[in-house]
């Protein structure tokens, strides 16, 4: 009860000095974010927040707390999307304390009020930061998902020969996606040969090799022969020194070699055309 009273008194005091505090708050925040938001925009945003903070402090209505959190959520999410640093985002809330402190520094009788106010702002600041982190994590997850979609094309090289150019690290999620797409394409096109090009795979360790072998044996179950190609010299050295066995899987140095092999296996021959 004691705390509510002190917050209430603080709210009354802050309401009397609204223009001064918001003005200083805007200055502090603007200095922190180095002009990435226009002054008018910032002022409007902070004035809304300030009004909400006062409503919560006065404890007059119950919706104020929810509205304040929603407004803070919105602010931190947009900051996270626009590439503000965590420090800049958190400062947006914490600098209100500085603005108020500068105003009341001379008035010793307001210390208990200032302390409860400070505690409340700390809480709001932490909330802001939590939302900011959650928003950033969502952005990262979305990017990972779109990368996953981007990076798995299955292309048709020839009648009955398809190729999967693998780019990037092969983890189990990607391997599964690649395998599914490869098998679906095998069924849809009726191809007999699948070429897995690993030129774009930066490193091949035992785990990656395991994933490759799984993809190959799944394709074999559908009756297709797999050819692994694009093994770079360093990768070949790693494979040998790790003792990875590719078994009876055909491996070729380049995509061209693999295509030639697949064509030969399909009974086709590449010859130079007679120029009449």
């Amino acid at each position: 009860m004691e705390m509510d009273n002190s917050l209430g008194r603080m709210a009354a005091y802050l309401r009397d000095h609204q223009d001064k505090v918001v003005g200083r708050w805007c200055e502090l925040v603007a200095a922190g974010i180095r002009g990435r938001s226009s002054a008018v925009e910032l002022r409007a945003e902070l004035e809304d927040l300030y009004t909400l903070v006062l409503r919560v402090m006065a404890g007059a209505d119950e919706q104020a707390a929810g509205e304040l959190r929603a407004a803070l959520d919105e602010m931190s999410r947009s900051r996270a999307r626009n590439g503000f640093t965590p420090r800049e985002t958190a400062l947006g809330v914490f600098s209100l304390k500085d603005a108020v402190y500068e105003l009341i520094a001379g008035e010793a009788d307001l210390i208990p009020e200032y302390l409860s106010f400070s505690r409340m702002i700390d809480d709001l600041g932490l909330h802001t930061f939590q939302t900011y982190a959650a928003a950033r994590e969502k952005i990262i997850a979305d990017q990972a998902a779109s990368m996953l979609e981007l990076s798995t094309p299955v292309v048709r090289l020839w009648d009955g020969i398809i190729a999967v150019p693998l780019v990037g690290t092969l983890d189990s999620a990607r391997t599964q996606l690649v395998t599914e797409k490869l098998l679906e394409t095998l069924v849809a096109t009726g191809a007999d040969h699948a070429v897995l090009d690993i030129t774009g795979v930066p490193t091949v360790d035992t785990e990656v090799a395991q994933h490759l072998l799984k993809t190959v044996s799944a394709a074999r179950l559908l009756g297709a022969e797999c050819i692994v190609c694009g093994i770079r010299p360093q990768v070949a050295q790693t494979i040998v020194s790790l003792g990875i066995e590719f078994g009876d899987i055909v491996t070729k140095a380049t995509l061209a070699d693999a295509l030639h092999y697949a064509l030969t296996r399909s009974g086709l021959k590449v010859t130079t055309a007679d120029r009449a």
Binding site: Q176, T179, E180, E184, V187, G190, A218, L221, L222, G223
Partner: protein, 118 residues
Amino acid sequence: MERVPILKIGRTLFVSIQIDLQDDSVMRLQEDLAAELAATGASGVIIDITAVEIVDSFIGRMLTMIGSISRLFDAETVLVGMRPAVAITLTELGLSLRGVRTALNAEKGLELLGGSAR
């Protein structure tokens, strides 16, 4: 108990599995197939699993065993029409079905047998 019919086409036995495989119908299929192979002297077996959506390790082992049984009668087994999801399940189970050849569809399976029987 449901039975899986075995059709004889030329020198090939054709088995199309279109029911949910239970353990006893699988055992019955093995017996029937062995009897049919002995009676006809067929040189190839085509097992069509286009309609099979779910496999477990038992069915995986059954397919390998049919392959081994056929080989004893000097016949080659070709598994055709496997669905992508089934192939992924079998590899995750670590079953690579050694001794059984695979083809995308029945037509390619017949081609495969025709090529090796001649």
